[in-house]
Symmetry: C2
Subunit: 438 residues, 2 copies
């Protein structure tokens, strides 16, 4: 999907005077780094549940934004933030009940060994902290990631986020292994192949005199193109990093909080035991918060020595927002809903695959779905141009999704977890419509 | 001031059963990194203006917390956050009016050359981004900081935050120069000495084959012990880094937003022109937000190439909170109040200095005040033990301050900007009381 920061004269002329004015002001004051979705950007002014509304009163089905996983402006989250913001917002150097209760409720959703949490504000900060801890405890510096991984934007994390592109250099201590590809690999070979690639990366690090510190993976491989199955394929790779004295970090910023349907956390689908888990995005349904869940023995010495303090991390408002999110997931059965609607949606998409040869593969778990678009289904040839046209075609039909993958040819469907079967029908009907036209 | 994460049996026994329970649960779930202020920690449950309230209904005068610079739970900030959280909270890849208006209002408080802003969530993220940009545009990696600087906690920023202590190693590309010390240096020598030290660091970087990228200073030198005067002493150092092809970054996370009274931003007091300015803490009066203000030509290429996107940075709620803060500073005249009450408070503290030989020096700007405590005023011998006793003595009298500086002997007085002359009288009377007793 095209992200735009400079418009062609033709595209720009198509926009309304109000949009043109906003874009000009935006470019002047925010500069070159800020991109907009779509050649026809959306001017969104309101959100509610799975719906976003633009300035003209048009309504869009949001099948993309995972931050608002509880639905946009969920009343219980709004209420929690409102209430606590009016009472107290300070930091963790005073005692406060709510951050402790929240930390207890949060860690209770993890295997017992992962019993502690440290709070930050963004997924980038969480991954940056996890790396600091891993280096401290292992004495190593080597990092293994997948070939199009995205883990964040700090200096240290950008160095192992190859999806940032050619201008953001990987660190000399970083090894990117081929991402697992369930479309082009037999299910029986997925685990062995990924394990072998990680072992090779470990050997290469050692050959360069670099001690491995960690393997980190997004357990749904979002930017690598969404890879969910077969369950368990992570195991040999995790064993390999452990044998090499490194840690395994599960980046659950995208798959976490019930999205995969099978489990609260993506790594549980694979039956592996992370040393640390990083979480973020939907954690406060939009309130800036993130965390690292860890085994006490991993962090004990670092904690004593490093004087880590995050001014905003774990403040009382974050605790209130985070607790509301956990309550909503439980009370509204959102993990089960993700499983149910996700399965339903994949079934509908499989029907599209049978009807349209461009739909090469349908995959995912729960409400994290990838649809691979190809020009030749036999050769599985990626078709990025067609993918962009589908994303834009859906936008013209008021359905918002995105694309990812090494060849930018995987439709990324990642709606709020309150998405219904009806919503899935709407999405599939719109996609069928666009496919039929192209 | 003591920060505590493990209590002596004696100290622990003095706490209430409720406090003991909270601390035990906290240590279990948050682990070793989390420190509490005071041997008798505060269990704060409510905040309003300059006041914090504990669970027992006791009220504390807050002369420490600069995040809540508009006062705790300022109604206009609460209202702005509440309203926008209920309408829409999404990101900068859709068009939204408020982030543009806010960015325009914010950059309007800077010299015209600093016309663009990029948003993040924490001061650490802002400094981390500034470093990425500086390295990109200069091609250098060398960083010069002061000897007890604190700029943040990401991997990259911790490497140039010497105040984190011996266990957090400085980077090989980092040079820490002696912090300016207005108590032990003649006013006429401050500028020349700091400039000379920065020049020496630049020469040393070059001698090691390291190209200088930047000089970064907190323009009030908070963790270095609060150094404000003489105005203008930064100029030769800034000239030196510019001559060496590096950038000057003003870290305004602490002095910014009117706190120094003389100006909205601390660097303006020194008449220097930063290439980038980082801001945070009070920016949203507690809402997690930060930013880098920059000259367009500094960021143009990095912006095009680096794919920087901060999920929560610059979201509509942050824009609403940030705009409320700018409005309050203007409508309530908080910069002028900081100047007035700051001058009034320093006058009162100077009187204490005449009455008590332990008070060696009173300094600062606006409502950022340092009071250096010494055992021998003639020799200016730092007295950290006495400083801790004063901080704890004030806490027993329900006044909250802290300490900083290389010898932990500088009282750090940094209240919300709504602090009144009456509040200053309360603080000074309490401090006189403690000094008289010790």
């Amino acid at each position: 999907m095209a992200m735009v920061n400079a418009f062609t004269a033709e595209d720009f002329a198509r926009l309304s005077p109000e949009e043109q004015n906003l874009i000009e002001r935006r470019q002047r004051v925010l500069g070159t780094a800020y991109r907009l979705f779509y050649e026809r950007p959306l001017h969104i002014v309101k959100g509610e549940g799975v719906w976003l509304y633009d300035a003209g009163g048009n309504k869009y089905l949001d099948a993309y934004n995972n931050v608002a996983s509880m639905g946009h402006c969920h009343p219980r989250v709004v209420e929690a933030i409102t209430r606590q913001t009016g009472i107290l917002n300070t930091h963790t150097r005073y005692l406060h009940e709510s951050i402790i209760s929240y930390a207890e409720a949060l860690t209770a959703t993890f295997p017992a060994a992962l019993s502690q949490v440290m709070f930050a504000c963004t997924g980038s900060e969480a991954n940056d902290l996890a790396v600091r801890i891993a280096r401290h405890v292992t004495g190593g510096t080597g990092i293994i990631v997948t070939s199009l991984a995205y883990h964040g934007l700090t200096s240290a994390v950008a160095e192992f986020s190859p999806s940032l592109g050619e201008f953001v250099h990987l660190g000399g201590h970083v090894r990117a292994v081929p991402a697992p590809d369930s479309y082009r690999t037999a299910p029986g070979e997925m685990a062995e192949r990924f394990g072998r690639d990680v072992r090779a990366a470990i050997a290469d690090l050692k050959r360069h005199g670099i001690k491995p510190a960690l393997l980190i993976v997004d357990t749904i491989f979002s930017s690598d193109g969404v890879v969910a199955d077969p369950k368990g394929f992570l195991k040999p790779a995790v064993d390999a990093i452990h044998e090499a004295g490194g840690l395994f970090i599960a980046d659950e910023v995208q798959p976490g909080f019930g999205r995969t349907g099978d489990a609260m956390w993506g790594f549980l689908r694979h039956g592996v035991a992370p040393d640390m888990v990083t979480i973020g995005k939907p954690m406060g349904n939009g309130y800036p918060m993130s965390g690292v869940i860890l085994r006490p023995e991993v962090v004990a010495e670092f904690g004593e020595q490093a004087r880590y303090f995050n001014t905003f991390g774990g403040n009382p408002v974050a605790a209130a927002a985070g607790m509301a999110v956990l309550d909503i997931i439980r009370d509204e059965g959102l993990q089960a809903n993700a499983a149910d609607v996700g399965t339903y949606m994949r079934r509908g998409l499989q029907q599209l695959r049978r009807d349209f040869p461009q739909v090469g593969d349908v995959r995912g778990a729960g409400l994290f779905i990838g649809v691979e678009i190809v020009s030749d289904p036999a050769a599985k040839t990626p078709d990025a141009a067609m993918t962009t046209r589908l994303v834009n075609g859906l936008r013209e039909r008021s359905v918002l999704i995105s694309a990812s993958g090494p060849n930018a040819n995987v439709l990324k469907i990642r709606p709020p977890l309150v998405f219904s079967r009806d919503n899935a029908d709407t999405l599939i009907a719109a996609l069928r419509d666009v496919l039929a036209l192209l």
